[in-house]
Symmetry: C2
Subunit: 225 residues, 2 copies
DNA sequence: TAGATTGTTAATCGATTAACAATC
DNA sequence: TAGATTGTTAATCGATTAACAATC
């Protein structure tokens, strides 16, 4: 491996987005595509797209840009493993169920196949092709299935403990939704999605863009209940 | 305004996270707090925390760090507007409902008060204190309520059109979940949460951390159905 | 005091952008 | 060819980190 630099986290995220866009373009009948088109849809610059694609090792031509189908395949070869990745989910609340539904019939390379909750009423059933277990069974199930990727959708107070158990059971990458930093051993990848913080950020900049003054309902109250 | 530099997007995001952490700390009885404690819980460095707090204009003391309660108040004065921000949500699917539930009874400064869908079976009811309307009513309702912040949780094919309508109705900040860049007028703030891309990123790095080889179930299949 | 923490500047780091020769 | 695009390097930009005097 002569390449010294690992792909950056951002590059990986963008590649995933590019693939989604390319799939839509292909379905729309576009058999070839140019960097500026991808850039436009992805919110990146053409140069950035070209540099990202260099990393996956797929080359286009000045004449026709990139072959859509081949590029999708190349990104897949770069991002995906040799077989579809199984994903475990912990916390079958509203958020957890929404995530399961969201991935159902999508992303064939990522399949949420097992879910866990500590509420006994939520376990021992199927949501799509996802089987629900009690958290007690987590170590056994995760280890037996060889699962390395997990989603933590439990309340903030339980997140750290759940994450530790997952890591002990072999998980090496976590997507979690609780607004805390998880303290986990070196080498475990953690991605945090803080919906509340993101929405507060949006509200902050929306207020600024609106001029900073208080919202002015044009008539009456917003809840004319 | 002598301060030339606007707070960066990241600073705003971190401040929101700090506040959530501080609220938990306060509830746990910690009346004062040091930058390294916040940093530890937020995944930042102490210096970064101190710099972020400088921006909100609240000062601690070398002896006792920061007064938890006062700091929360100061961050609130900085992040929040004079009155609670109303938020509109478009797309009452699984994701949309999960988001409504998520914010219910949380974040009193952000309240999702109206939701829209084009499915007539989903409208004219309440989810918590959120009233559901048909999308046709969106311009009127959003404008009348003076709403500036919105969440777009519709399928990717509809996202652009919905976003444009929201902006026309006065919205200046959008949180959206569709994996496309929205093309909107200058000055409108857009935050993208791409759950699928994030999970792919996690899976990628998890595979790397596990050594790159295929997952090895220790016994049988993962779905011993 | 001694030790720890804050406020703040300067140095470092990494990612983005600009630029352009090579190519079709 | 002329025009547009790719591949790739150098310049720019901004955010993070290190450092340290001032403070308690």
């Amino acid at each position: 491996m002569a390449k010294s630099a690992e792909p950056s986290e951002r590059t990986i995220g963008r590649l995933s987005l590019y693939r989604a866009l390319l799939n839509r373009m292909l379905r729309a009948g576009e058999s070839n595509v140019y960097s500026h088109q991808i850039a436009d849809a992805a919110g990146a610059t053409p140069a950035q797209v070209r540099r990202d694609l260099m990393e996956v090792g797929y080359h286009g031509s000045a004449a026709h840009g990139y072959d859509t189908r081949e590029l999708i395949r190349a990104i897949g070869a770069f991002l995906d493993g040799p077989c579809p990745e199984q994903v475990a989910l912990v916390g079958i609340g509203n958020l957890g169920r929404a995530i399961i539904e969201f991935f159902r019939d999508r992303r064939p390379n990522l399949r949420i196949t097992v879910a866990f909750d500590r509420d006994r009423f939520k376990v021992n059933r199927m949501i799509g092709d996802c089987r629900c277990y009690h958290v007690e069974e987590m170590p056994r199930v995760v280890r037996q299935a060889g699962i390395r990727t997990a989603i933590v959708a439990v309340p903030v107070a339980a997140a750290q403990q759940v994450a530790e158990q997952l890591v002990t059971s072999g998980v090496r990458g976590l997507l979690h939704f609780a607004p805390v930093r998880l303290h986990l051993p070196e080498g475990v990848f953690v991605e945090n999605m803080d919906v509340a913080a993101s929405l507060e950020k949006v509200a902050y900049f929306a207020r600024r863009a609106a001029g900073g003054e208080a919202a002015e309902p044009s008539a009456g109250d917003a809840n004319p209940a």
